[in-house]
């Protein structure tokens, strides 16, 4: 009987060791995430137009500087590992009369796009790291009575985002 007990203990010990040392298997799956370039720029201006009216406020004086703002009009998201910059480029409509209008864009500060009689002009209006941005945007203009006859003047302003 003594021998039997010894053998049983040895056998149980074997079982225990096997349970700890031998009893596992491993399998694997591979998962991946592709984060694509995310650059979205939108200008939420009513009808995509910013109208600035220039008119002499007081007889005997020149046009006053005029400006208009739209809260939250500038919406931009980007995930580039480097800063991005946004350039605003203005191109005068072919029907514009010769003028001396100075056209500016506001995006935290005023940036001059062009000064008449030039018909094109551009400026870097924003630089920043990856993030999501919503900002107030504005447009402003000034001119002289002598250099800008009454009328309607139009420009198309194109905003382009590229790595800074």
């Amino acid at each position: 009987m003594k021998k039997l007990m010894t053998v049983l203990l040895a056998a149980i010990l074997c079982l225990g060791l096997a349970g700890v040392a031998m009893a596992d298997g491993t399998d694997e799956i591979i998962g991946w995430v592709v984060v694509e370039e995310t650059v979205e720029l939108d200008l939420d201006i009513p009808n995509k137009e910013a109208a600035v009216w220039l008119g002499p406020a007081v007889a005997g004086f020149d046009y006053e500087w005029e400006e208009t703002f739209t809260a939250g009009a500038f919406k931009f998201s980007h995930n580039h590992p480097v800063d991005m910059k946004i350039t605003a480029a203005a191109v005068a409509d072919g029907g514009n009369a010769t003028n001396d209008i100075t056209l500016k864009i506001y995006l935290g500060a005023w940036y001059t796009l062009l000064v008449g009689p030039a018909t094109t002009g551009s400026a870097v209006v924003w630089i920043g790291p990856a993030g999501a941005y919503i900002k107030t945007m504005g447009a402003g203009a000034s001119a002289t009575l002598a250099g800008t006859p009454h009328g309607t003047y139009k420009w198309t302003v194109t905003f382009t985002a590229i790595d800074a």
Partner: protein, 167 residues
Amino acid sequence: MKGIRLKRKFAILILLFGFIFLADQEAGSIDIALTGSWSKTINAFDLISGAGSDLTDSYESAPNAVSITISGAAGVFLNAWRINVKKVDTNWHGDLILWVRRTSDGTGGAVSGGDGYQPLTGTDSPFFNGSGDVSGIKVQLKLSGVSVQVPPDTYTTTVYYTVVDTD
């Protein structure tokens, strides 16, 4: 008397080999097999509300993205086992967190635990427990921590599922 002693020794030897055989069969042959994988492409369509907003933070796989089958645990006695899980990154971003949870019991033996999301790390963590052979245990993955602060790239990790005999 000699005859009786011989029979006793024979019985002892049979008993001993019997235990060893059971030990090998139950402990050494538990196996785990997986099918499935998960990939996710994130782009501008995943912005919460278009330009000016951030990317959606988290994404879930299908509830049955991964299927696990445990075999070799249905001997004379049902073997109890535990699934450990970890991930080994190939290219990963520190902001990204991968989660895992069990969404079905499968068929066969018994399964418990692991039905709430738990984050995966680089070291083995207990996932869920079970006993006996079970097939078709479904697992769902979740990715969180996504934002525009995570640069464009392909991030890859391998999830390791290990079955451990707990008997």
